[in-house]
């Protein structure tokens, strides 16, 4: 086997391992989520809807990462399951509110909550999910002791606050119709909006559970940032070039919503003055008033300037940086399937469809 064929083959097996662990831990987390989102009255306009997004079958990346990290650091599975459920419930709360803020049409292959039931109901469902994410954390008092339970609560609070700050940066860009953005601006926004609650804190909290609070979790932040940034850029790319069935959201929806992805920022950097002026007008137009030909024009400019290829290269570079940072940090852990899952995450981030 040639070196290239060998590395491609091992990349495929690494991605297979990640999919396997996500499937297994995702199912366990969903069971725990169901336990904590017990159905009660009022069902029709609240509790039946609270379980809608979790039941649509996301990949439960955050919950799985928390569980895998906890186990890789030596915890039992049940030590982390309630915390993993809390992260998953909070993630779904963010999704419901994000969909309202972005006026998205589809989530996981189905109409969004606010499209189905209206914005007021959707906002209330998101609030209920956000509040419900605290309940599983109370169980930690029995499982992990009061000190660690409180530490985890603090971590979750910091995680949620920073994520909201990241979301504010992105919403502000759209509100102000920001055009002159840099790659560094984008990565800063992604760090706060995505990495903090997708990779950095699920890992931190899992490591705290696994070591009972006796690990320097800050040391892993660089590794997790690069994993999360590669994940977000790949997500942005899938929004433009992904398979709709696998992606589960509207293709080119980010352009309709005016999201400042790395691809769009690159196009705006390379565009001529006239093109930038037209792009500014298109992006300033509310989604419901945008014309399909204007969005198609944005998409064509993205292709003309090679912005997809550019973003793919940056994502690969960031994944390479993640592998570089993770190699030394994760070597302290004994070999296990969970450790191999953590090591394989950067590769999987790029290969997922």
């Amino acid at each position: 086997m040639t070196p290239r064929a060998s590395s491609v083959s091992s990349a495929a097996s690494a991605s297979g391992l990640v999919r396997e662990v996500l499937s297994e831990y995702g199912a366990l987390a969903l069971d725990a989520v169901r336990e904590h989102l017990a159905s009660r009255e009022p069902r029709r306009h609240l509790y039946d809807l609270v379980t809608d997004y979790p039941e649509r079958g996301g990949r439960a990346l955050r919950a799985s990462l928390c569980m895998a990290t906890a186990r890789a650091f030596g915890a039992q599975q049940h030590d982390a399951i309630h915390t993993a459920a809390a992260l998953e419930i909070l993630h779904n709360a963010f999704l419901v509110h994000d969909d309202v803020e972005d006026d998205s049409d589809e989530r996981r292959g189905h109409p969004t909550i606010h499209v189905l039931y209206g914005v007021p109901i959707a906002v209330n469902v998101g609030d209920a999910l956000a509040l419900s994410s605290l309940r599983p954390l109370f169980v930690n008092r029995f499982l992990l002791g009061p000190d660690l339970a409180f530490r985890i609560l603090e971590e979750v609070e910091t995680m949620a606050r920073q994520s909201i700050e990241g979301q504010a940066i992105e919403l502000g860009w759209r509100r102000d119709n920001a055009i002159a953005l840099t790659d560094e601006d984008y990565l800063h926004m992604v760090l706060k909006k995505t990495c903090v609650y997708t990779t950095i804190y699920p890992f931190r909290i899992g490591a705290l559970i696994g070591t009972h609070g006796r690990v320097d979790v800050d040391a892993f932040t660089r590794f997790l940032f690069f994993v999360g940034a590669a994940f977000q850029i790949q997500d942005d790319l899938l929004n433009l070039i992904g398979d709709k069935g696998a992606y589960g959201k509207e293709i080119a929806g980010d352009l309709w919503e005016g999201k400042r992805s790395l691809v769009l920022i690159r196009m705006l950097q390379l565009a001529s003055l006239e093109e930038r002026s037209r792009a500014r007008d298109v992006l300033a137009t509310p989604r419901q008033h945008k014309r399909a030909e204007d969005v198609a024009w944005l998409r064509a400019r993205i292709d003309a300037y090679g912005c997809i290829d550019y973003a793919q290269r940056i994502a690969h570079g960031l994944a390479g940086a993640a592998l570089h940072e993770g190699e030394r940090l994760l070597s302290i852990l004994p070999d296990s399937r969970d450790k191999r899952f953590l090591q394989a995450l950067p590769v999987w981030m790029l290969e997922r469809a």
């Binding site: 690494a14 017990a38 940032f225 960031l318 390479g320 570089h324």
Partner: protein, 262 residues
């Protein structure tokens, strides 16, 4: 012997003093070109794209990534330092964190000692005074609160001699209804400050996820007595199965239930 070798023996050279080799670098590698080392193959992520040699755009993007995350870490360290020096809101205002924590801990110790004293006083009263037949008065909860009502005398669980709940003066009596052909050991821990409404028991799980769960466990709190109904099939593997007891209305934890199947 060759001519060269004999020449070496005739004039043995003075051994060189050992020196530490000059370091290749004095700072961490943070550039794309040297990121993956000189001898190791490039990482799989790069290989999958066939991009063995990073281009300037990638180097610039990764460099931007390092600047962003290093700034984030620096700000985090500054915030931690500021919190340590400036104290927390609600914990002493402008005083230092150490001073504020000391004040908070002193207050906590005072509360605990007051609660302990009242608890001891109540216990001594109970011990020195003969109680009427049957029920005994409930000792006050820590903090001097009394939720009222007598506590039934502890009675042995009639259904299973193997089952026993931990004795606790303030805990309600426990009645077990067990349907099992297997020897069981049941442990119930109730949070003395937990909710006391309608209860629900989560499925009991073993440490290994491969073992089937114990489902359909019921808990009911009636007149200060806790009834637990539990069915264990003859094929249930031996092991310890644990789960939460929660308040049905709020899902707040009320305690834990653990069953050892032998």
């Amino acid at each position: 012997m060759t001519r060269r070798k004999s020449a070496v023996q005739a004039n043995p050279p003075k051994p060189d003093r050992k020196k530490r080799p000059t370091a290749e670098r004095t700072e961490p590698r943070r550039d794309m070109a040297s990121m993956f080392g000189d001898t190791k193959p490039p990482p799989q992520a790069a290989a999958t794209n066939g991009a063995a040699e990073p281009d300037p755009h990638v180097a610039s993007g990764v460099g931007a990534g390092y600047r962003v995350i290093d700034e984030y870490l620096r700000q985090g360290q500054e915030a931690a330092r500021a919190a340590w020096l400036g104290g927390f809101p609600g914990l002493g205002g402008e005083r230092g964190r150490g001073e504020a924590e000391l004040a908070a801990m002193a207050g906590q110790m005072l509360r605990y000692s007051t609660e302990l004293a009242s608890f001891w006083t109540a216990m001594l009263n109970n011990v020195s005074r003969p109680s009427p037949a049957g029920d005994i008065p409930r000792p006050p909860a820590p903090g001097g609160f009394d939720f009222g009502g007598p506590v039934p005398s502890p009675k042995p669980a009639p259904e299973s001699p193997a089952a026993a709940a931990p004795a606790h003066e303030a805990a309600p009596a426990v009645t077990l209804a067990l349907d099992s052909k297997r020897p069981l050991e049941v442990t119930v821990r109730l949070d003395p400050h937990g909710p006391l409404g309608k209860l629900r028991v989560h499925d009991l799980r073993a440490a290994s996820e491969e073992l089937p769960r114990l489902r359909g466990v019921r808990a009911e709190l009636r007149s200060g007595s806790l009834s637990i109904a539990l069915k264990v099939g003859k094929d249930q593997p031996a092991g310890v199965y644990s789960g939460m007891i929660v308040d049905d209305a709020t899902n707040l934890p009320a305690g834990t239930l653990s069953v050892r199947v032998r």
